[in-house]
Protein backbone atom coordinates (compact mmCIF):
# COMPACT_ATOMS: atom_id res chain seq x y z
CA UNK A 1 0.00 0.00 0.00
CA UNK A 2 1.27 3.46 -0.83
CA UNK A 3 1.46 5.87 2.06
CA UNK A 4 2.41 9.52 2.19
CA UNK A 5 6.15 10.01 2.50
CA UNK A 6 5.91 13.44 4.10
CA UNK A 7 3.29 13.80 6.82
CA UNK A 8 2.92 17.56 6.43
CA UNK A 9 1.02 19.06 9.34
CA UNK A 10 1.00 19.41 13.11
CA UNK A 11 1.46 16.29 15.19
CA UNK A 12 1.74 15.32 18.84
CA UNK A 13 4.61 12.98 18.24
CA UNK A 14 7.03 10.69 20.03
CA UNK A 15 10.67 11.73 19.61
CA UNK A 16 11.80 8.45 18.07
CA UNK A 17 8.87 8.57 15.65
CA UNK A 18 9.73 12.15 14.69
CA UNK A 19 13.25 10.93 13.86
CA UNK A 20 11.79 8.24 11.59
CA UNK A 21 9.53 10.77 9.88
CA UNK A 22 12.46 13.15 9.42
CA UNK A 23 14.44 10.39 7.74
CA UNK A 24 11.60 9.44 5.41
CA UNK A 25 10.87 13.08 4.60
CA UNK A 26 14.57 13.47 3.77
CA UNK A 27 14.26 10.63 1.29
CA UNK A 28 15.71 7.77 3.35
CA UNK A 29 14.51 4.54 1.76
CA UNK A 30 16.75 1.99 3.43
CA UNK A 31 17.05 1.13 7.11
CA UNK A 32 19.12 -1.70 8.53
CA UNK A 33 19.28 -2.11 12.26
CA UNK A 34 19.14 -4.22 15.36
CA UNK A 35 16.45 -2.80 17.63
CA UNK A 36 17.73 -1.66 21.01
CA UNK A 37 16.12 0.38 23.77
CA UNK A 38 15.63 3.35 23.75
CA UNK A 39 15.89 3.59 19.95
CA UNK A 40 13.56 0.65 19.25
CA UNK A 41 10.61 2.84 18.27
CA UNK A 42 12.67 4.20 15.35
CA UNK A 43 13.17 0.70 13.93
CA UNK A 44 9.59 -0.25 14.69
CA UNK A 45 8.15 2.72 12.83
CA UNK A 46 10.63 2.28 9.98
CA UNK A 47 9.45 -1.32 9.59
CA UNK A 48 5.91 -0.04 9.22
CA UNK A 49 6.56 3.10 7.17
CA UNK A 50 9.33 2.18 4.72
CA UNK A 51 7.32 -0.48 2.85
CA UNK A 52 4.50 2.07 2.49
CA UNK A 53 6.79 4.43 0.58
CA UNK A 54 8.67 1.88 -1.49
CA UNK A 55 11.62 1.56 0.86
CA UNK A 56 13.37 -1.40 2.47
CA UNK A 57 13.62 -2.27 6.16
CA UNK A 58 15.96 -5.05 7.24
CA UNK A 59 16.43 -6.31 10.75
CA UNK A 60 20.06 -7.42 10.81
CA UNK A 61 21.83 -9.94 13.02
CA UNK A 62 23.78 -7.21 14.81
CA UNK A 63 24.98 -3.63 14.55
CA UNK A 64 28.19 -4.52 12.66
CA UNK A 65 26.08 -5.95 9.87
CA UNK A 66 23.65 -3.03 10.15
CA UNK A 67 26.21 -0.33 9.46
CA UNK A 68 27.73 -2.34 6.62
CA UNK A 69 24.31 -2.79 5.05
CA UNK A 70 23.59 0.94 5.09
CA UNK A 71 27.05 1.69 3.67
CA UNK A 72 26.23 -0.69 0.80
CA UNK A 73 22.78 0.78 0.21
CA UNK A 74 24.18 4.30 0.22
CA UNK A 75 26.94 3.36 -2.24
CA UNK A 76 24.17 2.17 -4.54
CA UNK A 77 22.53 5.60 -4.40
CA UNK A 78 19.95 5.36 -1.61
CA UNK A 79 19.74 7.53 1.47
CA UNK A 80 20.27 4.99 4.26
CA UNK A 81 20.19 5.03 8.05
CA UNK A 82 20.54 2.93 11.17
CA UNK A 83 19.50 3.66 14.74
CA UNK A 84 20.94 2.26 17.92
CA UNK A 85 22.01 2.96 21.49
CA UNK A 86 25.35 2.70 23.31
CA UNK A 87 26.11 -1.03 23.01
CA UNK A 88 25.21 -1.08 19.32
CA UNK A 89 27.00 2.22 18.72
CA UNK A 90 30.17 0.60 20.07
CA UNK A 91 29.80 -2.28 17.62
CA UNK A 92 29.50 0.18 14.72
CA UNK A 93 32.73 1.99 15.48
CA UNK A 94 35.12 0.10 13.21
CA UNK A 95 32.97 0.65 10.16
CA UNK A 96 32.36 4.31 10.81
CA UNK A 97 36.00 4.48 9.78
CA UNK A 98 35.18 2.46 6.67
CA UNK A 99 32.45 4.93 5.68
CA UNK A 100 34.85 7.80 6.33
CA UNK A 101 37.58 6.17 4.24
CA UNK A 102 35.28 5.26 1.33
CA UNK A 103 33.46 8.60 1.69
CA UNK A 104 30.04 6.95 1.74
CA UNK A 105 27.29 9.14 3.29
CA UNK A 106 25.41 7.44 6.14
CA UNK A 107 23.27 8.57 9.05
CA UNK A 108 23.45 6.87 12.46
CA UNK A 109 21.08 7.75 15.27
CA UNK A 110 22.28 7.02 18.81
CA UNK A 111 19.51 7.40 21.37
CA UNK A 112 21.84 7.50 24.36
CA UNK A 113 21.09 5.58 27.53
CA UNK A 114 22.92 5.09 30.82
CA UNK A 115 26.32 3.55 30.11
CA UNK A 116 29.01 2.03 29.95
CA UNK A 117 28.14 -1.48 28.75
CA UNK A 118 24.45 -2.42 28.98
CA UNK A 119 24.12 0.18 31.73
CA UNK A 120 20.60 1.54 32.07
CA UNK A 121 18.63 0.42 29.00
CA UNK A 122 15.51 2.48 29.67
CA UNK A 123 17.10 5.58 31.18
CA UNK A 124 18.98 8.51 29.67
CA UNK A 125 22.66 9.30 29.25
CA UNK A 126 24.86 11.66 27.23
CA UNK A 127 28.14 9.85 27.63
CA UNK A 128 28.64 8.77 23.99
CA UNK A 129 29.43 12.25 22.68
CA UNK A 130 33.20 11.84 22.63
CA UNK A 131 32.80 8.34 21.21
CA UNK A 132 30.83 9.90 18.35
CA UNK A 133 33.87 12.01 17.52
CA UNK A 134 36.73 9.65 18.28
CA UNK A 135 35.32 6.11 18.59
CA UNK A 136 36.78 4.67 15.41
CA UNK A 137 40.52 4.26 15.05
CA UNK A 138 42.65 6.73 13.17
CA UNK A 139 42.41 10.39 12.26
CA UNK A 140 39.07 11.36 10.82
CA UNK A 141 36.22 13.84 11.20
CA UNK A 142 32.45 13.54 11.16
CA UNK A 143 29.41 15.65 12.04
CA UNK A 144 27.11 15.01 15.01
CA UNK A 145 23.95 16.77 16.18
CA UNK A 146 22.18 16.77 19.55
CA UNK A 147 18.38 17.29 19.35
CA UNK A 148 16.60 18.69 22.43
CA UNK A 149 13.02 18.05 21.33
CA UNK A 150 10.93 15.77 19.13
CA UNK A 151 10.79 18.69 16.66
CA UNK A 152 14.57 18.61 16.39
CA UNK A 153 14.51 14.82 16.10
CA UNK A 154 12.74 15.56 12.82
CA UNK A 155 14.70 18.65 11.74
CA UNK A 156 18.19 17.41 12.63
CA UNK A 157 17.62 14.02 11.01
CA UNK A 158 16.82 15.89 7.78
CA UNK A 159 19.96 18.00 8.26
CA UNK A 160 22.03 14.87 9.00
CA UNK A 161 21.12 13.38 5.62
CA UNK A 162 21.91 16.64 3.85
CA UNK A 163 25.31 17.05 5.51
CA UNK A 164 26.17 13.39 4.96
CA UNK A 165 25.32 13.58 1.26
CA UNK A 166 26.82 16.98 0.57
CA UNK A 167 30.17 16.18 2.20
CA UNK A 168 30.27 12.39 1.89
CA UNK A 169 30.72 11.70 5.59
CA UNK A 170 28.97 9.69 8.33
CA UNK A 171 26.67 11.93 10.37
CA UNK A 172 25.38 11.04 13.83
CA UNK A 173 22.20 12.18 15.52
CA UNK A 174 23.17 12.00 19.20
CA UNK A 175 19.81 11.92 20.89
CA UNK A 176 19.07 10.72 24.41
CA UNK A 177 16.35 8.65 26.05
CA UNK A 178 14.52 11.72 27.36
CA UNK A 179 14.17 13.33 23.94
CA UNK A 180 13.64 9.99 22.18
CA UNK A 181 10.77 8.98 24.45
CA UNK A 182 9.16 12.38 24.90
CA UNK A 183 5.93 13.30 23.13
CA UNK A 184 5.56 16.91 22.02
CA UNK A 185 4.28 19.03 19.16
CA UNK A 186 6.10 18.37 15.87
CA UNK A 187 5.43 20.49 12.80
CA UNK A 188 6.27 18.74 9.54
CA UNK A 189 6.55 21.30 6.74
CA UNK A 190 5.33 20.86 3.16
CA UNK A 191 7.68 18.97 0.87
CA UNK A 192 8.99 22.08 -0.89
CA UNK A 193 10.11 23.54 2.45
CA UNK A 194 12.19 20.53 3.44
CA UNK A 195 15.78 21.38 2.53
CA UNK A 196 17.58 18.98 0.25
CA UNK A 197 21.32 19.06 -0.38
CA UNK A 198 22.27 16.70 -3.17
CA UNK A 199 25.29 14.50 -3.58
CA UNK A 200 27.92 15.80 -5.93
CA UNK A 201 27.77 13.56 -9.00
CA UNK A 202 30.22 12.86 -11.82
CA UNK A 203 30.07 15.27 -14.73
CA UNK A 204 32.18 13.17 -17.11
CA UNK A 205 30.86 10.04 -18.81
CA UNK A 206 32.16 6.66 -17.51
CA UNK A 207 34.45 6.02 -20.46
CA UNK A 208 36.47 9.23 -19.98
CA UNK A 209 38.70 7.93 -17.19
CA UNK A 210 36.63 9.03 -14.18
CA UNK A 211 38.77 9.06 -11.04
CA UNK A 212 36.37 8.51 -8.13
CA UNK A 213 38.56 9.95 -5.38
CA UNK A 214 39.84 12.99 -7.24
CA UNK A 215 38.68 16.06 -5.31
CA UNK A 216 39.23 18.98 -7.64
CA UNK A 217 36.90 21.48 -6.00
CA UNK A 218 37.77 23.77 -3.09
CA UNK A 219 35.38 21.85 -0.84
CA UNK A 220 37.61 18.75 -1.19
CA UNK A 221 34.56 16.57 -1.90
CA UNK A 222 34.95 14.21 -4.86
CA UNK A 223 31.86 13.45 -6.97
CA UNK A 224 30.16 10.16 -6.06
CA UNK A 225 29.40 7.57 -8.74
CA UNK A 226 26.80 5.08 -7.60
CA UNK A 227 27.17 1.36 -8.09
CA UNK A 228 25.49 0.18 -11.27
CA UNK A 229 25.75 3.41 -13.24
CA UNK A 230 28.56 2.19 -15.51
CA UNK A 231 31.48 3.82 -13.72
CA UNK A 232 34.31 1.51 -12.75
CA UNK A 233 34.67 2.26 -9.09
CA UNK A 234 36.80 0.51 -6.51
CA UNK A 235 35.94 1.11 -2.86
CA UNK A 236 38.34 0.01 -0.13
CA UNK A 237 39.18 0.74 3.47
CA UNK A 238 42.84 0.50 2.51
CA UNK A 239 44.69 3.70 1.77
CA UNK A 240 43.90 4.44 -1.87
CA UNK A 241 44.86 6.78 -4.64
CA UNK A 242 42.54 8.96 -6.66
CA UNK A 243 41.47 5.97 -8.75
CA UNK A 244 40.41 4.17 -5.58
CA UNK A 245 43.15 1.55 -5.81
CA UNK A 246 45.25 0.57 -2.78
CA UNK A 247 48.50 2.50 -2.52
CA UNK A 248 50.68 1.71 0.46
CA UNK A 249 52.85 4.80 0.30
CA UNK A 250 53.27 7.24 3.16
CA UNK A 251 52.78 10.12 0.75
CA UNK A 252 49.40 8.89 -0.53
CA UNK A 253 48.30 8.04 3.01
CA UNK A 254 49.14 11.49 4.33
CA UNK A 255 47.44 13.18 1.39
CA UNK A 256 44.26 11.11 1.72
CA UNK A 257 43.82 11.31 5.50
CA UNK A 258 44.64 15.01 5.52
CA UNK A 259 42.00 15.65 2.88
CA UNK A 260 39.38 13.63 4.78
CA UNK A 261 39.95 15.69 7.93
CA UNK A 262 40.43 18.99 6.13
CA UNK A 263 37.20 18.38 4.16
CA UNK A 264 35.21 18.68 7.39
CA UNK A 265 37.27 21.59 8.77
CA UNK A 266 36.94 23.58 5.57
CA UNK A 267 33.18 23.07 5.34
CA UNK A 268 32.51 23.36 9.07
CA UNK A 269 30.49 26.57 8.78
CA UNK A 270 27.90 24.75 6.69
CA UNK A 271 27.58 22.03 9.33
CA UNK A 272 27.77 23.97 12.59
CA UNK A 273 24.52 24.83 14.39
CA UNK A 274 23.98 26.49 17.77
CA UNK A 275 21.52 28.71 19.55
CA UNK A 276 21.87 31.39 22.22
CA UNK A 277 19.60 32.55 25.04
CA UNK A 278 20.36 35.75 26.90
CA UNK A 279 23.94 35.87 25.66
CA UNK A 280 24.07 39.58 24.73
CA UNK A 281 25.20 40.73 28.17
CA UNK A 282 25.99 37.38 29.75
CA UNK A 283 28.87 37.23 32.22
CA UNK A 284 28.15 33.62 33.18
CA UNK A 285 27.69 31.43 30.14
CA UNK A 286 26.12 27.98 30.48
CA UNK A 287 26.91 25.52 27.69
CA UNK A 288 24.66 22.52 27.26
CA UNK A 289 23.00 20.27 24.69
CA UNK A 290 20.28 17.69 24.20
CA UNK A 291 17.78 17.20 27.01
CA UNK A 292 20.10 18.84 29.55
CA UNK A 293 19.86 22.13 27.63
CA UNK A 294 16.14 22.25 28.48
CA UNK A 295 17.02 22.39 32.18
CA UNK A 296 19.80 24.86 31.45
CA UNK A 297 17.37 27.22 29.71
CA UNK A 298 15.11 27.08 32.76
CA UNK A 299 18.08 27.73 35.06
CA UNK A 300 19.28 30.80 33.17
CA UNK A 301 15.72 32.15 33.17
CA UNK A 302 15.61 31.76 36.94
CA UNK A 303 19.08 33.31 37.31
CA UNK A 304 18.10 36.30 35.19
CA UNK A 305 14.94 36.77 37.23
CA UNK A 306 17.26 36.99 40.26
CA UNK A 307 19.39 39.62 38.52
CA UNK A 308 22.32 37.40 37.54
CA UNK A 309 23.57 38.03 33.96
CA UNK A 310 23.55 34.41 32.83
CA UNK A 311 23.13 33.11 29.28
CA UNK A 312 22.94 29.79 27.47
CA UNK A 313 24.94 28.64 24.46
CA UNK A 314 23.11 25.55 23.25
CA UNK A 315 25.25 23.27 21.12
CA UNK A 316 23.12 21.84 18.32
CA UNK A 317 26.11 20.52 16.43
CA UNK A 318 28.49 18.84 18.84
CA UNK A 319 30.83 18.07 15.92
CA UNK A 320 32.11 20.15 14.29
CA UNK A 321 32.27 22.00 17.61
CA UNK A 322 30.93 25.60 17.47
CA UNK A 323 34.22 27.18 18.46
CA UNK A 324 33.59 30.60 16.89
CA UNK A 325 30.68 31.66 19.11
CA UNK A 326 32.58 30.32 22.10
CA UNK A 327 35.67 32.40 21.25
CA UNK A 328 33.43 35.45 20.91
CA UNK A 329 31.77 34.81 24.26
CA UNK A 330 35.22 34.46 25.81
CA UNK A 331 35.61 38.23 25.29
CA UNK A 332 32.72 39.06 27.62
CA UNK A 333 32.21 36.10 29.96
CA UNK A 334 33.74 35.75 33.40
CA UNK A 335 33.06 32.05 33.71
CA UNK A 336 31.65 29.11 31.78
CA UNK A 337 29.49 26.31 33.12
CA UNK A 338 29.12 23.11 31.11
CA UNK A 339 26.06 21.03 32.02
CA UNK A 340 26.01 17.52 30.58
CA UNK A 341 24.76 14.07 31.58
CA UNK A 342 28.21 12.51 31.76
CA UNK A 343 31.20 13.02 34.00
CA UNK A 344 32.79 15.69 31.83
CA UNK A 345 33.15 15.25 28.06
CA UNK A 346 32.26 18.35 26.03
CA UNK A 347 33.76 20.40 28.88
CA UNK A 348 37.16 19.31 27.56
CA UNK A 349 36.34 20.91 24.23
CA UNK A 350 35.19 24.14 25.93
CA UNK A 351 38.43 24.28 27.93
CA UNK A 352 40.40 24.20 24.68
CA UNK A 353 39.00 27.54 23.58
CA UNK A 354 38.61 29.72 26.67
CA UNK A 355 40.98 30.98 29.37
CA UNK A 356 38.25 31.59 31.95
CA UNK A 357 37.32 29.07 34.64
CA UNK A 358 35.10 26.29 33.30
CA UNK A 359 32.84 24.57 35.80
CA UNK A 360 31.11 21.27 35.12
CA UNK A 361 27.63 20.32 36.25
CA UNK A 362 27.69 16.58 35.75
CA UNK A 363 25.71 13.46 36.39
CA UNK A 364 26.55 9.94 35.21
CA UNK A 365 23.06 9.43 33.78
CA UNK A 366 19.87 7.62 34.60
CA UNK A 367 17.84 10.77 35.16
CA UNK A 368 17.72 14.10 33.39
CA UNK A 369 19.69 16.79 35.22
CA UNK A 370 17.02 19.12 36.63
CA UNK A 371 17.36 22.92 36.55
CA UNK A 372 18.30 23.19 40.26
CA UNK A 373 21.97 22.05 40.19
CA UNK A 374 22.62 24.24 37.15
CA UNK A 375 21.05 27.24 38.90
CA UNK A 376 23.09 26.46 42.02
CA UNK A 377 26.30 26.48 39.97
CA UNK A 378 25.32 29.83 38.43
CA UNK A 379 24.54 31.30 41.86
CA UNK A 380 27.77 29.97 43.31
CA UNK A 381 29.80 31.59 40.55
CA UNK A 382 27.82 34.81 40.88
CA UNK A 383 28.30 35.09 44.65
CA UNK A 384 31.68 33.49 45.32
CA UNK A 385 33.44 33.96 42.01
CA UNK A 386 34.49 31.29 39.64
CA UNK A 387 37.43 29.82 41.50
CA UNK A 388 35.59 26.79 42.76
CA UNK A 389 37.02 24.39 40.23
CA UNK A 390 35.17 21.55 38.61
CA UNK A 391 32.19 20.41 40.66
CA UNK A 392 32.07 16.85 41.75
CA UNK A 393 29.44 14.68 40.16
CA UNK A 394 26.43 14.73 42.41
CA UNK A 395 23.67 12.19 42.59
CA UNK A 396 20.64 14.12 41.51
Amino acid sequence: MKGRAILTGEHFMHGDHACTEGAIAAGCRFFAGYPITPSTEIAERMAQRLPEVGGVFIQMEDEIASILAIIGASAAGTRAMSATSGPGFSLMMENIGLAVMMEIPIVIVDVQRGSPSTGLPTLPGQADVMQARWGSHGDYAIAAYAPWSPQEMFDLTVLAFNVADRFRIPVMVMSDEVVGHMVERVVIPPEEQIPRWERKRPTVPPENGFRPFLAEDDDLVPPLAHAGEGYRVHFTGLTHDERGYPDMSAETHHRLVTRLVEKVRRNADAMIRYEGYGLEDAKIVVISYGCTARSARRAIGQARAAGIPAGLLRLISLWPFPEKPLRELARQAEAFIVAEMNLGQMICEVERYVAQPVIGVNHAGGAMIPPAPILEAIEEVATRGARIGRRKASAG
Partner: protein, 179 residues
Protein backbone atom coordinates in the same frame (compact mmCIF):
# COMPACT_ATOMS: atom_id res chain seq x y z
CA UNK B 1 1.32 28.90 33.98
CA UNK B 2 2.66 25.37 34.27
CA UNK B 3 0.34 22.55 35.28
CA UNK B 4 1.14 18.89 35.81
CA UNK B 5 -1.28 16.02 35.31
CA UNK B 6 -0.56 12.39 36.19
CA UNK B 7 -2.87 9.61 34.97
CA UNK B 8 -2.21 6.32 36.74
CA UNK B 9 -3.69 2.86 36.74
CA UNK B 10 -2.73 -0.73 36.10
CA UNK B 11 -1.40 -2.02 32.81
CA UNK B 12 -4.18 -2.35 30.25
CA UNK B 13 -6.37 0.48 31.53
CA UNK B 14 -5.11 2.76 28.78
CA UNK B 15 -3.47 5.43 30.89
CA UNK B 16 -0.81 6.06 28.25
CA UNK B 17 -3.40 6.50 25.52
CA UNK B 18 -5.42 8.82 27.77
CA UNK B 19 -2.32 10.93 28.44
CA UNK B 20 -1.48 11.04 24.76
CA UNK B 21 -4.98 12.19 23.75
CA UNK B 22 -5.05 14.79 26.49
CA UNK B 23 -1.60 16.15 25.60
CA UNK B 24 -2.52 16.23 21.92
CA UNK B 25 -5.72 18.15 22.66
CA UNK B 26 -3.76 20.82 24.53
CA UNK B 27 -0.83 20.96 22.06
CA UNK B 28 -2.72 20.93 18.77
CA UNK B 29 -6.18 22.32 19.51
CA UNK B 30 -5.79 24.64 22.51
CA UNK B 31 -2.65 26.50 21.38
CA UNK B 32 -0.86 25.40 24.55
CA UNK B 33 2.51 23.78 25.02
CA UNK B 34 2.26 20.17 26.16
CA UNK B 35 4.69 17.34 26.82
CA UNK B 36 3.78 13.75 27.56
CA UNK B 37 6.15 11.30 29.18
CA UNK B 38 5.59 7.81 30.51
CA UNK B 39 7.49 5.39 32.66
CA UNK B 40 9.53 2.84 30.72
CA UNK B 41 11.02 -0.35 32.00
CA UNK B 42 10.01 -3.54 33.75
CA UNK B 43 7.98 -1.70 36.37
CA UNK B 44 5.62 -0.40 33.68
CA UNK B 45 4.20 -3.89 33.04
CA UNK B 46 1.59 -4.91 35.59
CA UNK B 47 1.49 -2.98 38.82
CA UNK B 48 1.00 0.75 38.73
CA UNK B 49 1.76 2.49 35.45
CA UNK B 50 1.39 6.13 34.67
CA UNK B 51 1.46 8.73 31.96
CA UNK B 52 2.34 12.30 32.66
CA UNK B 53 1.29 15.47 30.91
CA UNK B 54 2.79 18.90 31.51
CA UNK B 55 0.92 21.85 30.02
CA UNK B 56 1.90 25.49 29.92
CA UNK B 57 1.31 28.70 28.02
CA UNK B 58 5.11 29.01 27.67
CA UNK B 59 7.70 26.62 26.20
CA UNK B 60 8.18 23.72 28.61
CA UNK B 61 11.79 23.28 29.66
CA UNK B 62 11.76 20.50 32.22
CA UNK B 63 9.46 17.87 30.69
CA UNK B 64 8.75 15.66 33.69
CA UNK B 65 5.97 15.86 36.23
CA UNK B 66 7.43 16.69 39.63
CA UNK B 67 4.42 17.37 41.83
CA UNK B 68 1.14 16.80 40.01
CA UNK B 69 -1.61 19.40 40.25
CA UNK B 70 -4.01 16.69 39.13
CA UNK B 71 -3.83 12.98 39.90
CA UNK B 72 -6.21 10.68 38.08
CA UNK B 73 -6.08 7.24 39.74
CA UNK B 74 -7.80 4.28 38.11
CA UNK B 75 -6.56 1.63 40.53
CA UNK B 76 -5.91 1.37 44.27
CA UNK B 77 -2.23 0.56 43.74
CA UNK B 78 -1.83 3.61 41.52
CA UNK B 79 -3.53 5.79 44.10
CA UNK B 80 -1.41 4.45 46.95
CA UNK B 81 1.81 4.77 45.00
CA UNK B 82 1.26 8.14 43.39
CA UNK B 83 -0.83 10.03 45.96
CA UNK B 84 2.30 11.01 47.91
CA UNK B 85 3.87 12.45 44.73
CA UNK B 86 1.00 14.88 44.19
CA UNK B 87 0.56 18.26 45.83
CA UNK B 88 -1.29 18.00 49.15
CA UNK B 89 -4.08 20.12 47.64
CA UNK B 90 -3.99 18.36 44.25
CA UNK B 91 -7.19 17.73 42.39
CA UNK B 92 -7.83 14.00 42.79
CA UNK B 93 -10.03 12.12 40.37
CA UNK B 94 -10.54 8.48 41.28
CA UNK B 95 -12.23 5.43 39.80
CA UNK B 96 -15.03 5.21 42.34
CA UNK B 97 -15.41 1.42 42.35
CA UNK B 98 -11.70 0.60 42.35
CA UNK B 99 -10.14 3.19 44.65
CA UNK B 100 -10.76 3.98 48.28
CA UNK B 101 -9.12 7.32 49.01
CA UNK B 102 -7.54 8.39 52.27
CA UNK B 103 -10.10 9.80 54.65
CA UNK B 104 -8.26 13.10 54.62
CA UNK B 105 -8.53 13.37 50.82
CA UNK B 106 -11.43 15.04 49.14
CA UNK B 107 -11.54 13.25 45.80
CA UNK B 108 -13.84 13.48 42.82
CA UNK B 109 -15.34 10.08 42.15
CA UNK B 110 -16.28 8.70 38.78
CA UNK B 111 -17.45 5.11 38.23
CA UNK B 112 -15.60 5.08 34.91
CA UNK B 113 -15.48 1.32 34.43
CA UNK B 114 -19.19 0.94 35.19
CA UNK B 115 -20.10 3.78 32.80
CA UNK B 116 -17.90 2.18 30.15
CA UNK B 117 -19.57 -1.18 30.65
CA UNK B 118 -22.94 0.48 30.12
CA UNK B 119 -21.61 1.52 26.71
CA UNK B 120 -20.69 -2.10 26.03
CA UNK B 121 -16.89 -1.93 26.38
CA UNK B 122 -15.10 -1.52 29.69
CA UNK B 123 -11.91 -0.79 27.75
CA UNK B 124 -13.09 2.80 27.19
CA UNK B 125 -13.07 3.61 30.91
CA UNK B 126 -9.95 5.72 30.25
CA UNK B 127 -11.84 7.90 27.77
CA UNK B 128 -14.83 8.18 30.12
CA UNK B 129 -12.36 9.53 32.66
CA UNK B 130 -11.01 12.07 30.14
CA UNK B 131 -14.55 13.30 29.61
CA UNK B 132 -14.97 13.66 33.36
CA UNK B 133 -11.64 15.51 33.66
CA UNK B 134 -12.52 17.88 30.83
CA UNK B 135 -15.84 18.90 32.36
CA UNK B 136 -14.60 18.98 35.96
CA UNK B 137 -11.60 21.22 35.30
CA UNK B 138 -12.78 23.36 32.41
CA UNK B 139 -9.11 23.61 31.40
CA UNK B 140 -9.83 22.83 27.76
CA UNK B 141 -12.74 22.74 25.37
CA UNK B 142 -14.72 19.61 24.83
CA UNK B 143 -14.20 19.89 21.06
CA UNK B 144 -10.42 19.84 21.45
CA UNK B 145 -10.46 16.42 23.11
CA UNK B 146 -13.02 15.16 20.62
CA UNK B 147 -10.76 16.23 17.77
CA UNK B 148 -7.79 14.54 19.42
CA UNK B 149 -9.82 11.32 19.73
CA UNK B 150 -10.88 11.52 16.08
CA UNK B 151 -7.32 12.14 14.89
CA UNK B 152 -5.70 9.46 17.02
CA UNK B 153 -7.88 6.36 16.95
CA UNK B 154 -8.81 4.12 14.01
CA UNK B 155 -12.08 5.32 12.42
CA UNK B 156 -14.07 2.22 13.38
CA UNK B 157 -13.64 2.83 17.13
CA UNK B 158 -14.01 6.62 17.08
CA UNK B 159 -17.83 6.63 17.64
CA UNK B 160 -17.53 4.37 20.71
CA UNK B 161 -14.81 6.55 22.17
CA UNK B 162 -16.69 9.78 21.47
CA UNK B 163 -19.68 8.25 23.29
CA UNK B 164 -17.44 7.31 26.18
CA UNK B 165 -16.03 10.82 26.32
CA UNK B 166 -19.54 12.33 26.26
CA UNK B 167 -20.69 9.95 29.01
CA UNK B 168 -17.89 11.02 31.36
CA UNK B 169 -18.33 14.69 30.46
CA UNK B 170 -22.05 14.62 31.17
CA UNK B 171 -21.58 12.64 34.37
CA UNK B 172 -19.34 15.41 35.67
CA UNK B 173 -21.72 18.18 34.57
CA UNK B 174 -24.58 16.49 36.37
CA UNK B 175 -22.53 16.40 39.56
CA UNK B 176 -20.51 18.95 41.44
CA UNK B 177 -18.24 21.16 39.35
CA UNK B 178 -15.35 22.11 41.54
CA UNK B 179 -13.09 24.40 39.55
Amino acid sequence: MRREIRIAGFGGQGVVLAGYILGKAFALYEGMEAVMTQSYGPEARGGASSSNVVISDEPIDYPFVLEPDVLIALSQEAYTRFRPTARPDALLIIEEDLVTPLESDRALRVPATRLAEELGRRIVANIVTLGYFTAATGWLRRESVEKAIENTLPARIVPLNLNAFARGYEYALAGERVL
